[in-house]
């Protein structure tokens, strides 16, 4: 199994998918958000069986919220892979992948907590790190978050 096989499998599911390899030899695949579940299920069956993390990335300029799924392969031949998908920033919603990767339970909670992305199908989406009584719509890692940020002691 090589990266080209993975690329072919992903492109069969999502013809618009694009693959690039960075200088460290790690692969990045961009897919559309509504295909994320099928793509990750396919990747899992191809040997990417470990989900390291889900990163939420607030791209204010493009008006999208990007989600990065970092996947670790079982064999050493395949490169470390990051699957990325964008959802609209105003109403960020994406399918939950907890039924494919149970490990995503906490990671999706974390992304929801910090960036307000709603994961459809997550069994119990809640704030995990910030206080539960925080009002809705407050997500500190969003770039437009206006919170009190410590600027140091004024002289």
């Amino acid at each position: 199994m090589e990266l080209s096989d993975i690329e072919r499998a992903v492109k069969a599911l999502d013809p618009d998918a694009s693959v690039k390899v960075d200088k460290a030899g790690r692969a990045w695949i961009k897919v559309s958000a509504d295909k994320i579940k099928e793509v990750l299920r396919e990747l899992k069956s191809k040997g990417y069986n470990h989900l390291t993390a889900i990163t939420g990335l607030d791209q204010v300029k493009e008006g999208v919220m990007e989600l990065l799924y970092h996947l670790l392969p079982e064999s050493k031949e395949l490169p470390y892979l990051t699957v990325r998908a964008s959802v609209p920033r105003e109403d960020p919603k994406i399918d939950s992948i907890t039924d494919i990767f149970p490990a995503a339970l906490l990671y999706e909670d974390e992304v929801y907590d910090m960036l307000g992305v709603k994961f459809v199908g997550h069994p119990d989406l809640k704030r995990i790190l910030l206080p539960e009584e925080l009002p809705e719509g407050i997500h500190p890692l969003r770039k437009d978050f206006k919170g009190s940020i410590y600027k140091g002691v004024s002289k």
Binding site: A24, R26, W28, H50, L106, L129, P140
Partner: protein, 401 residues
């Protein structure tokens, strides 16, 4: 049978990661557990967006007090990727001294905690006495005993002397001896076996599906180690050996860590022999502007895979830094490990993932049926578990001994 709810946490914020567990218990057996996180959330990811690249290194270092070297090194390694600079070999060797010495220090500390949790305080003293030697080495290496800022963007911050290297080699030999001693002891001591064997078993399938990392996964027969998958820095040439145990219980996790002390000591000996001369760092301006880039940096911290993701839109500060710490990945496996265990095993099972929460301060016992609440301190819980084991050890004979 009516079930009880038992709240463990949120513990001592100053020392390790505070966390809360609600255990549902039936009699002495645990049927379910719920996690309660966020007691010590410090908003470091947001803070890192506010700092320059170099300032960020010192913020990242303070994420964890025990594996600060892994965080610091991982951050610097990632920023080097963003700037596309190659640190000199000697710098990487010095960085690796920090990483491996830290692994020995962290595993010895954990062994002490584990023995303490199981009521074997003599061994706790033994391991922490040995750990003191790693601290002394760190003091000589960096001037500090904890949070030692060994790496920097572009290499290492301080050079090592010949004198230090010979001392390092001598101490590495000592750690190897001690690891052999602990291994013999753990495998033969009745007290340790009674508390560790078949306790908190994480099956291989669960470790895989829940994406466990580090010694927790390796104790269940999963070959996962960043040094093995993607040898970074100088690990490609080093005498690194992957340590895997199959059983998945607390004993297997203990053995994995003890053997890793041995492997780390071997790497340190090799470093002391093979360290090349030359520069220790590439100079880079503290106000340097980064190019547009996106980088993932991975390091095997003492507790497992540590991941940093950097996004740079060009400029003085990172656009986004994401940190995934190993304990966060190992929290879900606790749920599988604790099911069907005794209340008295809680300290050992939770400690067995090395969760940085070894100092839980309070335990709340709630009787759901009668609405009664009982709060126990950690000390009382440990006392309770010791007493329970003294009374019930005979019945456990077939299961554990």
């Amino acid at each position: 049978m009516s079930s009880f709810k038992l709240y463990v946490g949120p513990i001592h914020p100053a020392l390790k990661e505070p966390i809360g567990f609600t255990f549902e218990v039936e009699g002495e057996r645990i049927v379910n557990v719920r996690l309660n996180l966020g007691f010590n959330h410090r908003g470091i990811e947001k803070l890192l967006e506010e700092k320059t690249w170099l300032q960020g290194a010192f913020v990242a270092e303070h994420i964890c007090g025990i594996c600060s070297g892994a965080h610091h090194g991982c951050y610097c390694q990632g920023v080097e990727g963003v700037f596309e600079i190659e640190p000199p070999l000697r710098g990487l060797f010095i960085r690796t001294i920090g990483w491996e010495l830290e692994r020995i220090h962290s595993h010895l500390l954990w062994l002490g905690v584990m023995f303490h949790e199981s009521g074997f305080d003599t061994l706790f003293m033994y391991t922490w006495r040995d750990r003191e030697r790693t601290m002394d080495l760190f003091e000589e290496l960096s001037g500090r005993r904890v949070v030692y800022s060994l790496s920097t963007i572009g290499g290492a911050r301080r050079d090592v002397s010949e004198n230090f290297l010979s001392k390092l080699k001598r101490q590495a030999r000592y750690f190897k001896e001690r690891a052999k001693f602990y291994e013999r002891l753990v495998l033969n001591d009745a007290t340790v076996l009674a508390r560790f064997r078949n306790v908190g078993v994480l099956r291989r399938e669960d470790a895989l599906s829940l994406s466990a990392v580090g010694p927790t996964a390796r104790g269940s027969g999963v070959k996962k180690d960043v040094r093995y998958e993607e040898p970074y820095a100088i690990y490609e040439d080093s005498p690194f050996k992957l340590v895997v145990e199959e059983e998945g219980d607390a004993l297997a996790k203990t053995l994995v860590r003890i053997r890793e002390i041995e492997v780390s000591a071997e790497i340190l000996e090799w470093i002391a022999d093979k360290i090349p001369g030359g520069d220790i760092r590439v100079k880079i301006s503290p106000m340097a502007k980064a190019p547009v880039n996106e980088v993932i940096s991975r390091v095997e911290a003492p507790r497992g895979e540590l991941l940093y993701y950097f996004n740079s839109t060009g400029g003085l500060r990172p656009y986004r830094v994401k940190v995934r710490t190993p304990t966060f990945a190992n929290l879900l496996p606790i749920i599988k490990m604790i099911e069907g265990q005794y209340i008295a095993d809680i300290p050992v099972v939770i400690a067995s993932i090395d969760p940085c929460i070894a100092c839980c301060e309070r335990v709340v016992l709630v009787d759901v049926k009668e609405g009664k609440r009982k709060v126990l301190s950690k000390r009382e819980l440990i006392r309770y578990s010791r007493k329970w084991f003294q009374e019930n050890l005979k019945e456990l004979k077939g299961e554990r001994l």
